[in-house]
């Protein structure tokens, strides 16, 4: 194995990890706070991507500077994510708080099925593209390898997102309150924290992060029906590996899966299909609650 292959594995792994982290962070946040495995995360992602494509289409038709288009695309997607998650939380989720965790998963699954068809009704069955930001970013050459600047930007953005969420949870008032709710929601409520309000805010942030994930990926992919489905299982796997509800867990889960997958593609392409589930099964066998979860005290 020459150094170029090693370098390629590391860069490809980082790019894939950045993608996984960006799609998984919203999911793990909602799970940590609300204990809901949110299947509609896939819908947030898809709506974000479709919204980004529409925004890019509108923007680049007018021949405006590319950097602004990128920003406009992200803002449009996050606005869609915000509206969608508020409708869902206020309209549906609110009615089932307190029910079985599994029932809540099923509620989000039902909402996901409906939203899949809402996409067809709004955007139709054809595919969309939003490649302009990636083309505008250009590329750099490292020996025989050509790297896309957009990919490098994604890695930087994922790192920034990780740092930002770390800082927000630790040093902002909302973040600290959130940590309390994650730790013990009954005690938090008893101390006068507005848990319902926290739920709404968390669900909205989770929704915006999901849509942001879709928007950031939109320039790289063809936006077609069913892109949400693929993302759900991927994000679930990453979050389960890292530990449900842990942001550091999502980061490490993404890195492990990303590097393993890149190594598989370069060295043993035949096993690529098994990498994610194989890693997930192995991690869960060794650490049943994921890599970054504290042992829960069992309540009698």
């Amino acid at each position: 194995m020459d150094w170029l292959t090693v370098f390629a594995i590391v860069t490809d792994g980082l790019v894939y990890a950045a993608y996984l982290f960006i799609v998984a962070i919203g999911l793990t946040l909602i799970f940590g706070v609300m204990k809901i495995l949110n299947v509609t995360h896939g819908s947030f992602y898809a709506f974000g991507a479709y919204g980004a494509a529409t925004a890019v289409g509108i923007y680049f038709e007018r021949d405006l500077p590319a950097a602004g288009g990128f920003l406009f695309m992200l803002l449009a997607a996050m606005a869609i994510g915000l509206v969608l998650s508020l409708i869902l939380e206020r309209g549906v989720m609110r009615l089932v708080y307190g029910r079985d965790e599994v029932v809540m998963v099923l509620v989000t699954y039902a909402a996901f099925l409906i939203l899949e068809d809402v996409i067809v009704l709004i955007w139709g069955p054809r595919s969309y593209a939003a490649y302009q930001p990636m083309v505008a970013a250009g590329n750099v050459e490292v020996a025989d390898l050509v790297l896309s600047n957009y990919d490098i930007g994604l890695v930087a953005l994922a790192a920034a997102l990780a740092a930002l969420s770390y800082w927000a949870l630790r040093y902002t008032r909302y973040g600290r309150l959130l940590t309390v709710v994650i730790f013990d929601r009954e005690t938090a409520a008893a101390f006068g924290i507005n848990v319902t309000g926290m739920y709404t805010a968390t669900f909205a942030i989770g929704g915006m992060l999901g849509a942001l994930g879709g928007a950031l990926m939109a320039p790289k992919i063809s936006i077609t029906l069913g892109i949400g489905v693929e993302v759900i299982v991927l994000a679930f796997a990453v979050v389960a590996i890292g530990g449900m509800g842990s942001i550091a867990g999502a980061l490490f889960g993404a890195l492990i899966v990303g590097l393993c997958r890149a190594a598989a593609v370069h060295l043993a392409p035949q096993v690529e299909l098994f990498v994610i589930y194989g890693v997930m099964a192995l991690v869960l066998v060794a650490r049943p609650y994921g890599l970054f979860t504290r042992a829960q005290p069992r309540k009698i």
Binding site: L113, V233, F236, L273
Partner: protein
């Protein structure tokens, strides 16, 4: 299940069996697949009473179906009684083996690990190009007690076979629910440490339930495979498991018969939805599921039993 419900259930099964020759072929075929899937759902009900939901039940479904198909392809065995039993046993064996691992898990981790296992089988089957990869392959036409059957009578015989398996499983699972091991399910769901303090090994109880659910899943898959006449790796994909969980919620954990009625309603709703809105039928399915959860919290079974089922504890 109380005596009157058992009598009503028995009468319904008899009615279903007697009516079949007078129904159009497509109704019989739809019901055959619905009831075969109902067996898988019954297995999920067994698990759900302890608070466990498997997002990987398609693993057993797929193993049951592939066992039937491979027995015909590799060994030339087409006798339906043998192949279906083999399908159930193979799935049960796998459930027993992975049960040592899975029985230690609860809640969402149980769901995720079972999902990972079923997806690994999916991956293996996709890589197996000699078995047609994702295209799958045909199941040899089954025989009954050595007799080859004509197409129309074959469908009826398969339907009756499925009904017989459903009736048998419903009775046995009913007996199990009334046994001590079965009765402990709901206390486990409420608080398993209390059960441990009674001196019962919760893990072993759950392991047994996993095997029961696995066998039922295997039977369901074997019968569905025979009825469809084709198997493919999609039977092990997570969306297949999702469909079974969907029906379980629709049916509710209250009664055994609800699994089958829920499954029949699900297939019927799906078929009507595809007819009414060919491009956007998922919306109807999602809507039905959402309304069921909101307005029938204990599932369709709760209409039939009309008893307030035990409430889940609120946080």
């Amino acid at each position: 299940m109380r005596r009157p419900t058992r009598i009503v259930g028995g009468l319904l099964f008899l009615l279903g069996a007697v009516a079949a020759p007078f129904l159009p072929g497509w109704v019989v075929s739809l019901a055959t697949i619905a009831f075969a899937n109902g067996l898988v759902v019954l297995g999920l009900v067994v698990l759900w009473r302890t608070g466990l939901v498997s997002f990987g039940q398609a693993l057993y479904y797929c193993i049951g179906a592939y066992t039937v198909a491979l027995l015909g392809r590799w060994a030339g065995v087409t006798e339906m009684l043998i192949t279906v039993l083999a399908g159930g046993l193979a799935a049960g064996l796998v459930a027993y083996l992975v049960g040592f691992l899975l029985a230690r898990y609860r809640e969402i981790f149980f769901a995720m690990l079972s999902l990972a296992l079923s997806m690994i089988l999916y991956g293996v089957l996709v890589k197996t190009e000699s078995l047609g990869s994702t295209d799958g392959f045909s199941v040899s036409t089954p025989t009954l007690l050595g007799f080859a059957l004509h197409a129309d009578s074959l469908n009826l015989v398969l339907y009756w076979l499925v009904l017989a398996f459903c009736a048998g499983s419903a009775l046995l699972v009913g007996v199990y629910f009334r046994s001590v091991a079965g009765a402990l399910a709901i206390p486990i769901r409420d608080n398993e440490i209390r059960i441990e303090f009674l001196g019962v090994s919760v893990n072993r109880l759950i392991h047994a339930k996993l095997v029961i659910a696995g066998i039922l899943g295997g039977f369901g898959g074997a019968l569905a495979g025979l009825s469809i006449g084709h198997v493919d790796p999609n039977m092990s994909y997570w969306t297949t498991s999702g469909g079974f969980v969907f029906v379980t919620i629709l049916a509710g954990a209250g009664s055994v018969g609800a699994a089958f009625i829920g499954s029949l309603i699900f297939e019927a709703v799906r078929s009507v939805a595809v007819n009414v809105l060919p491009g956007t039928w998922q919306m109807i399915l999602g809507g039905v599921l959402l309304l069921t959860i909101l307005f029938l919290p204990e599932g369709i079974g709760s209409i039939m039993t009309r008893r307030p089922a035990p409430k889940a504890d609120t946080p």
